[in-house]
C-alpha cells in the first residue's frame, strides 16, 4: 500500500530537491510533508532527503521564519512545517530562531487593541480570547495554521526548553475548542458569522482533532462522531488522511477503515497519505 506512494514521491521530486503541488515549481509545504513522510520509507526507495533539506533551508528568511516559495519574501505559517520536518529528520537545533518566530506569531485579532475594539463595537462574532496562528503575518488566526503549529510545537515540546511553549500550546488548543462549529467539527475558522452557524469540513475537522491529541475527550464526543461519519463519505486523500490522523490521535480509529477514493494524488496528498497509514 505504501510502496507505490513512496515511489510516487521519488519520481515527483524536483531537481532542486523540493516538491510541488502537482505541477510547476517547488514549494515548502509539499516538501515539508514529504520530508515528514520520508522517515517511514523503505531503504529500497531512493529519495534525496538531503537535497530536500537544502531546498527547505534555502527558504529561510532573516527574520527567523520561512517563506512558502522562492518567489515570496515573507515568512508565513509554513514556518511550523519547516520546523517540524527538520526536527523529525534530526536537523533542527534547539535554539533555532524559527522557534521564537513561531512562538511570537499570533492572530492580529488577538492583540489588545483589536480585542478592545471588538468589545467596544460588540462585533465579536468570533471568540478572540485565545491566541491562534495566522496564515500570513498581521492577519487573523485560523483553524488550519493553528492546528499545524500546535502539531509542530507538541513535537518540539521535549526537545526545546522554552517556558513559553506550554502556555502557547494551551492557548492554541483553547483557540481550536472555541472555533468548533455547531455540528461538532471545524471549518476554516469562521464557525459563527453574523448569527449564522457555519458547517464543518472533513479536512479541518481531522486536522483539529490531530492537534488536540491529549485533550480530554469529554467535550469532543460530537467531533468524534462527526469525524467517523465523514470518514465514510469523504472523497479526497487529503481529507481522508487528516481524519485518520485525527481519529488515531484520540485512539478511536475503527479497525476497518473505508479506503479513500482518490482522483489524483499530488506529492502533498501522497505524503499525507503515508503519514496517515504509516504512523504508529
Amino acid at each position: 500500500m505504501l510502496e507505490p506512494a513512496f515511489r510516487h514521491l521519488a519520481v515527483s521530486q524536483n531537481s532542486d530537491g523540493g516538491w510541488n503541488f502537482g505541477t510547476g515549481s517547488s514549494w515548502l509545504e509539499p516538501t515539508a510533508y514529504a520530508l515528514l513522510a520520508c522517515r517511514h520509507r523503505p531503504a529500497s526507495i531512493p529519495i534525496h532527503t538531503n537535497k530536500a533539506i537544502l531546498f527547505l533551508e534555502s527558504l529561510r528568511l532573516p527574520d527567523g521564519g520561512w517563506s512558502p516559495h522562492p518567489g515570496v519574501r515573507n515568512s508565513t505559517w509554513v514556518t511550523c512545517l519547516a520546523l517540524h520536518a527538520l526536527h523529525v529528520n534530526g536537523r533542527l537545533s534547539s535554539d533555532d530562531p524559527a522557534i521564537r518566530w513561531l512562538l511570537q506569531s499570533s492572530g492580529a485579532e488577538s492583540t489588545w487593541v483589536s480585542r478592545l475594539r471588538s468589545w467596544l463595537v460588540s462585533s465579536g462574532s468570533q471568540n478572540t480570547s485565545f491566541d491562534g496562528w495566522p496564515w500570513y503575518v498581521d492577519t487573523a488566526a485560523w483553524v488550519a495554521p493553528t492546528a499545524a503549529s500546535l502539531i509542530a510545537l507538541q513535537s518540539l515540546a521535549h526537545f526545546v526548553v522554552d517556558p513559553r511553549i506550554g502556555p502557547r500550546i494551551h492557548q492554541g488548543r483553547e483557540f481550536l475548542l472555541a472555533r468548533r462549529c455547531a455540528d461538532g467539527g471545524w471549518n476554516h475558522g469562521s464557525n459563527r458569522a453574523l448569527g449564522y452557524d457555519g458547517d464543518s469540513y472533513p479536512e479541518t475537522t481531522g486536522m483539529a482533532l490531530a492537534a488536540l491529541q491529549g485533550t480530554p475527550s469529554s467535550g469532543l464526543q460530537t467531533a468524534y462522531q462527526l469525524a467517523l461519519q465523514q470518514l465514510k463519505t469523504v472523497r479526497s486523500v487529503e481529507a481522508w488522511s487528516w481524519l485518520v490522523m485525527g481519529l488515531r490521535a484520540h485512539k478511536i480509529l475503527p479497525e476497518q477503515i473505508p479506503e479513500p477514493r482518490p482522483r489524483f494524488m499530488d506529492p502533498r496528498e501522497t505524503a499525507l497519505f503515508i503519514l496517515a497509514v504509516a504512523a504508529p
Partner: protein, 317 residues
C-alpha cells in the same frame, strides 16, 4: 427616518463623485442583459449570442474561465452553476480559442477538487479534470499595484491568469454580508493564491476588502464577464443566503459597468457599493453612462433581500 452611519454617508458622498464625470458616448461601456430562465440546454445558445454580440474573436487565444467556487451546500446556491461554465466553454471553443482553462482558487476549503465535484462540475462539464487549474497552488509572479487603494503594495498572482489573452469572470449574482454584493469584480479574489495568502485570503480583508477588490481590478489582463443570475443568492450571502430566481445573464467587458447593472437588477444602488466607486474611474456607474442591450433593467429587475445593515444600499425609485 433611517440613521445615517459614517459608512453610508461616505458611500453616498463618494458615489456622487464617482458618478459626476460620465464617459463620452465613444467610451461608453456596453452591458448585455439576456433572459435565462433555467439551466437547460438553451443556455448554450444564450451564451453564444452574448459572444456574438460582443464580437469576441478568440482565434488562437489563451482564455481563462473564472467561475465562483467557494464551498458547497445543497440547501442554497453558492457557486456559479456548472451549466453556465459549460456554455461559456463551448462558446469560447466555437470562437476559436485554442487554450481554455477553467481556473479558480476557492477561498475557504483548500481541496478545490472536492468543492468542484460537489458543485457538479465533474458531471456537468465534460473533461473537467483536464481543464481545471487550481489557482491556489499554481505558479505565480509578484505584481506591483499602481497607486493602491488598499494597504497592499504588491500581490502574487498566477502567471496563467496574468498571461491570458482573455480572462472571463463568471460569478454568481449574490448579496455579500460585508460589501453589499459579490459580482464580477469581487469574483477576482479567487485568483489570489491560497498557498501564499491562506484560506481565507485574509490579507485582502485586513488590507480593506473594497480597496483590495479595486486594486486587483487594476492588475487584470484583458477581461470579459458573464454573471450567472439564473439563480442568485439573497440575504446573508455569499454563503448562507437563500436562492433567488432572477432568470438573467449579464455580460460585458467593463466590470464596474456590468456590476453596476447587476446591482440595479438586484435593486441595489451601485453608488453605495464602495468597491464599485473605487474601480469605476470613468463614471461608468451611472445608468446613462452604460449602453444597455438586450432586455431592459426594468424588465428583469427583482429585489434581492438584504441584511438590515445594507438596507441603506437599497435602490429607491
Amino acid at each position: 427616518m433611517k440613521p445615517i452611519t459614517r459608512r453610508t454617508l461616505f458611500a453616498a458622498t463618494a458615489g456622487t463623485a464617482a458618478c459626476s464625470n460620465p464617459p463620452s458616448t465613444a467610451e461608453k461601456p456596453q452591458v448585455q442583459i439576456l433572459k435565462a430562465p433555467s439551466y437547460g440546454q438553451e443556455l448554450f445558445e444564450t451564451v453564444r449570442r452574448i459572444f456574438s454580440h460582443a464580437k469576441l474573436d478568440l482565434r488562437g487565444k489563451r482564455v481563462i474561465l473564472k467561475p465562483n467556487l467557494v464551498e458547497f451546500d445543497p440547501r442554497t446556491a453558492i457557486n456559479t452553476h456548472p451549466m453556465v461554465v459549460h456554455a461559456v466553454l463551448e462558446a469560447a471553443r466555437a470562437s476559436g480559442a485554442t487554450d481554455i482553462r477553467i481556473a479558480e482558487a476557492p477561498g475557504h476549503r483548500r481541496i478545490s477538487w472536492d468543492v468542484a465535484e460537489a458543485a457538479g462540475y465533474f458531471s456537468e462539464i465534460p473533461g473537467f479534470t483536464k481543464l481545471f487549474t487550481d489557482l491556489n497552488t499554481a505558479d505565480f509572479r509578484e505584481v506591483n499595484i499602481p497607486s493602491p487603494h488598499s494597504g497592499l503594495k504588491s500581490l502574487h498572482l498566477p502567471t496563467s491568469v496574468l498571461g491570458a489573452d482573455l480572462l472571463i469572470s463568471i460569478p454568481k449574482l449574490k448579496t455579500h454580508h460585508w460589501v453589499g454584493a459579490t459580482l464580477s469584480l469581487k469574483n477576482m479574489f479567487g485568483i489570489v493564491p491560497g498557498a501564499i495568502y491562506g484560506w481565507p485570503k485574509n490579507v485582502l480583508h485586513w488590507a480593506g476588502i473594497d480597496e483590495s477588490i479595486a486594486d486587483i481590478h487594476k492588475l487584470l489582463p484583458p477581461h470579459f464577464c458573464i454573471v450567472d443570475g439564473v439563480t442568485g443568492m439573497e440575504g446573508n450571502g455569499p454563503i448562507q443566503g437563500t436562492p433567488k430566481q432572477a432568470g438573467v445573464l449579464i455580460a460585458g467587458h467593463d466590470m464596474p459597468a456590468v456590476d453596476a447593472t447587476c446591482a440595479r437588477i438586484m435593486h441595489l444602488n451601485p453608488a453605495m457599493i464602495r468597491y464599485l466607486q473605487l474601480a469605476a474611474t470613468n463614471g461608468q456607474l451611472e445608468e446613462g453612462a452604460i449602453i444597455q442591450t438586450g432586455e431592459t433593467i426594468a424588465s428583469v429587475a427583482t429585489p434581492f433581500a438584504l441584511l438590515p445593515r445594507f438596507e441603506p444600499f437599497r435602490l429607491r425609485p
